[in-house]
């Protein structure tokens, strides 16, 4: 029978295992072959070519108007989401809230610096639901409503964009977080790092190749026309704001197909598809109302805002998604206050250079003029 002393010794041996001398295993002779090449010289040449090519590409991108700026991705969004405090003022929704609101002005007028959680081309609902489900949050939400985005059904890009960001904020790994911190200084100094405009995939998509008649071509997204800082404040670049600039015209022509409803899929009868979409919109109203209710129950506040738009895009939106269709329903079903820019002369006189967003200068003025309405709506 082993004594307690021998047991103790055995226990002591355990940690020592980790520090034992190398084992007595016989080394194996398996080695991968290494191609006999002049590796040092070859690597130097490769490094020089890559540096030269990257520099040339950077120079070219700058020469056609690109400037370094942060990419908006789930990790940057998560970083900002993490800064939301229980009583924060949070901006959610689409790119209009992103470009048209100036955080400095809002801070002056509302007494707190808002947290910018709006995302380009995204639906507000996933973020609204996330904040409503966050038991610690009882602050204020400023929610932009672009009708087509706001009621985008599940599975569509605007919904997926929001859902992806929210999911990342709950599951972000340490490595993803570190990658974002490493990426930011690079993006702030290198102009060609544009994840939605200058990647190989984007460049391939621009190849002028004609398609089969029924090929489903996803509408093009606008090229680079704004900068983004670490607080996710977006500002339109000057070239886009110049009256009649080439960039401005290009973007205007991109919005129209992007805001035009796609044809119903061929494999579902038109009526059935219409019913499905109608049901999805009703479900969204219900979900939004539930989220708002939940938020209010904790003392939180929300205000819906319709931001300015211009030109053909305004005509298209007024035709396809009239105010009575979605905006009025959202306000009615949630019982929340709403600010529709057209209702106020001081908010409706702005011109959006590329029809959808305000210029950086106008966004400051617009924010100033919006503040009294926000204060009134939120009873501040």
């Amino acid at each position: 029978m082993p004594s307690s002393t021998s047991n103790f010794k055995r226990k002591l041996r355990l940690p020592r295992l980790f520090f034992a001398k190398p084992s007595e295993i016989i080394p194996r002779d398996y080695e991968r072959p290494i191609p006999p090449l002049p590796w040092r010289g070859l690597t130097v040449v490769v490094a020089l070519i890559v540096i030269a090519a990257a520099s040339a590409w950077e120079f070219y991108c700058r020469s056609i108007g690109y400037r370094p700026t942060l990419n908006d991705n789930e990790d940057l969004w998560t970083m900002t989401r993490r800064s939301v405090k229980p009583e924060s003022i949070v901006i959610i929704g689409d790119s209009r809230a992103w470009f048209d609101l100036d955080l400095d002005e809002l801070q002056k007028g509302l007494g707190k610096r808002p947290v910018q959680l709006a995302m380009g081309g995204s639906c507000a609902y996933p973020v609204l639901a996330d904040l409503a489900n966050d038991e610690s949050f009882h602050g204020t939400i400023i929610c932009s409503v672009v009708p087509r985005m706001f009621v985008a059904p599940p599975g569509t890009p605007p919904m997926e964009r929001g859902e992806k960001a929210v999911r990342r904020s709950h599951t972000q790994t340490l490595a993803q977080r570190a990658s974002q911190y490493l990426a930011m200084p690079l993006e702030e100094h290198v102009a060609f790092l544009k994840q939605e405009d200058l990647t190989l995939d984007d460049l391939l998509k621009r190849l002028p190749i004609s398609n089969r008649p029924y090929a489903q071509v996803s509408p093009r997204l606008p090229p680079y026309f704004g900068t983004l800082d670490r607080e996710r404040r977006a500002r339109m670049i000057e070239e886009c704001a110049w009256p009649g600039s080439e960039l401005q015209k290009r973007i205007q022509q991109i919005w129209l197909p992007l805001f035009t409803p796609p044809p119903p899929p061929t494999y579902i009868p038109k009526e059935e598809f219409g019913k499905k979409i109608g049901a999805a919109i009703e479900a969204r109203f219900h979900d939004v109302a539930t989220a708002v209710e939940k938020l209010r129950a904790r003392g939180g506040k929300i205000v819906f805002v319709r931001f300015p738009e211009s030109g053909e895009l305004k005509k298209l939106e007024d035709r396809e998604t009239p105010r009575a269709g979605i905006w009025d329903q959202v306000i009615k079903k949630t019982g929340a206050p709403g600010i529709y820019y057209e209702d106020y002369p001081e908010l409706s006189g702005f011109n959006c250079p590329e029809w959808s967003h305000l210029s950086a200068g106008d966004s400051v003025e617009f924010s100033k003029r919006l503040i009294p309405h926000l204060r009134k709506a939120l009873q501040l």
């Binding site: 295992l17 980790f18 520090f19 034992a20 001398k21 190398p22 084992s23 007595e24 295993i25 016989i26 080394p27 194996r28 398996y30 080695e31 991968r32 072959p33 290494i34 191609p35 006999p36 090449l37 002049p38 590796w39 040092r40 070859l42 690597t43 040449v45 490769v46 070519i49 890559v50 090519a53 990257a54 590409w57 790994t173 340490l174 490595a175 993803q176 570190a178 990658s179 490493l182 990426a183 690079l186 790092l193 544009k194 994840q195 990647t199 190989l200 995939d201 391939l204 998509k205 190849l207 190749i209 004609s210 398609n211 089969r212 029924y214 090929a215 489903q216 899929p265 061929t266 494999y267």
Partner: protein
């Protein structure tokens, strides 16, 4: 930490610099253990504890197996190791799957049972490191490996970061001997390792993610009927995507290991040039197929038993191989299809192998083509998230939707065609060779240009850090 992330670039640069600047071999190994656990912990730190406990248990059980007196007690310790590893895998990976199937079975006999949904987070790479660790006790039991005295060495063998989360499944018996003597820093080996890492990242980021994944996702995600051309192109896109994704990871792992002075074996050997399915499995995910061969197929009797039994063994092995990939019946069907392919091939070989025409060029090419097509058909079940999608895809591929939709753009079709054609051409031209020989034969300027081009393409894609497909397994 993903290979295709900025964090890994910095991590790897730091690890390589510190590792090679250390003089003591023991210190280097400790450092690699720490680095590997940091690499793994960057996903979810608590799972590093799980990894360590599995490893420590197998280390202890390995010694028990080696010192046990009788065959019976050796077997008891081995069963302990197998049960521990498989129950860990079973709980994390198959917990909900088993519960759902149990619920379904009860409902067949009229019992309504609503099991709670277990909110289980799957530890990344569990299928891989479980097999790394398990190979140790299995090899000790088989008498082909002596247990190591150093827990540190074994911990490093299991957790060595290049191969930790998505393979290759490096057996302890292949890795532990490399920990005996310190490798020297050799410029050629280090830089060849870097080139392999560039190639692996190029395969993943450029070929899999940029050129193919979008089309594959669109086709498999389309809810309507598709014409045959689009269906086939979608499946071919996935066939290419999964190869470049997984082979890319393995190539990166081999390259990263070389930079640190370690040698990992090939995990892929130009699989789309396979003639027949046994040839395919000698070329695809070699570390898994040899693992299943050595630890499952041969113990079951291998091909030393009657043909019917050997065929059954093949199907059993491929069934489990399918299940290893994921907790879903679609993976099981994928495995069973490959099992059936292997059985059919065995029958055909038995009938025609000695015929003169069976080995001529035309037959070989036809055999290669038929293998590729059959492998593509099996990929449908691997990629489809349920049988409805798989059935719709197969229906489209075999002409069931003559008036279906044609959704791919010309650019997407060209990308799939060019990448697939290039991939098959390279696989056929190198099927009896290896990448080292090919690179040695190429003019130096071609190697230089290819390396530079791959690096530039990686920079141009800007890497969105998409996870590797095999991480989910």
């Amino acid at each position: 930490m993903l290979f295709n992330s900025l964090t890994f670039v910095v991590f790897f640069a730091v690890v390589v610099s510190v590792y090679w600047s250390m003089r003591s071999w023991n210190a280097r190994k400790y450092f690699l253990v720490v680095a590997s656990y940091v690499f793994y912990g960057a996903w979810n730190p608590p799972f590093a504890a799980l990894l360590f406990s599995t490893t420590a248990m197998d280390f202890w059980l390995g010694r028990r197996i080696a010192t046990a007196k009788g065959r019976r007690s050796r077997r008891v310790w081995l069963v302990g190791s197998v049960c521990m590893n498989l129950s860990m895998l079973g709980f994390f990976k198959y917990g909900n799957f088993l519960l759902q199937n149990f619920q379904w079975l009860l409902s067949r006999i009229g019992i309504i049972y609503q099991p709670p949904h277990l909110d289980i987070l799957l530890p990344v790479g569990i299928s891989f490191y479980t097999f790394h660790s398990l190979s140790y006790t299995l090899d000790i039991y088989r008498g082909v490996l002596q247990p190591t005295k150093s827990l540190r060495d074994f911990v490093l063998a299991v957790s060595f970061f290049p191969q930790l989360v998505a393979g290759p499944i490096v057996r302890a018996g292949d890795f532990l001997p490399q920990l005996v003597t310190p490798p020297g820093l050799r410029a050629g080996q280090f830089l060849w390792g870097l080139l392999l890492m560039t190639l692996g990242l190029f395969e993943k980021i450029v070929l899999a993610d940029t050129m193919l994944s979008g089309s594959a996702d669109r086709i498999f995600g389309y809810a309507g009927p598709l014409v045959a051309l689009d269906s086939w192109l979608g499946v071919m896109a996935f066939a290419g995507q999964i190869f470049f994704d997984f082979a890319g990871y393995s190539t990166c792992a081999i390259g990263a290991a070389l930079c640190l002075g370690f040698h990992l074996k090939d995990n892929f050997r130009f699989p789309y040039a396979a003639i027949g399915f046994s040839d395919f499995w000698r070329r695809w995910h070699i570390s898994l197929s040899t693992f299943l061969r050595d630890y499952l197929y041969i113990p079951l009797g291998g091909n030393q038993v009657r043909p019917v039994r050997a065929g059954t063994n093949l199907v059993i092995v491929m069934f489990l191989g399918g299940l290893w990939h994921g907790a879903a019946w679609t993976f099981v069907v994928w495995g069973l299809l490959h099992g059936s392919y292997l059985v059919i091939e065995r029958v055909i070989r038995g009938l025609f192998e000695n015929k003169e025409w069976a080995n001529n060029l035309a037959t070989r090419l036809l055999g290669g083509f038929a293998t590729y097509i059959a492998v593509c058909v099996a990929w449908v079940f691997f990629r489809a998230s349920d049988f409805t999608i798989a059935a719709r895809m197969l229906d489209g591929m075999f002409g069931g939707h003559a008036h279906g939709d044609a959704i791919l753009t010309t650019r997407e079709m060209l990308q799939i065609a060019l990448v697939t054609a290039g991939m098959i051409l390279v696989h056929w031209s190198l099927r009896d060779s290896n990448i080292e020989t090919a690179v040695t034969r190429l003019p130096r300027w071609v190697v230089t240009a290819a390396w530079a081009l791959m690096a530039c393409a990686i920079i141009l894609t800007q890497g969105n850090s998409n996870a590797f497909i095999y991480f989910q397994f």
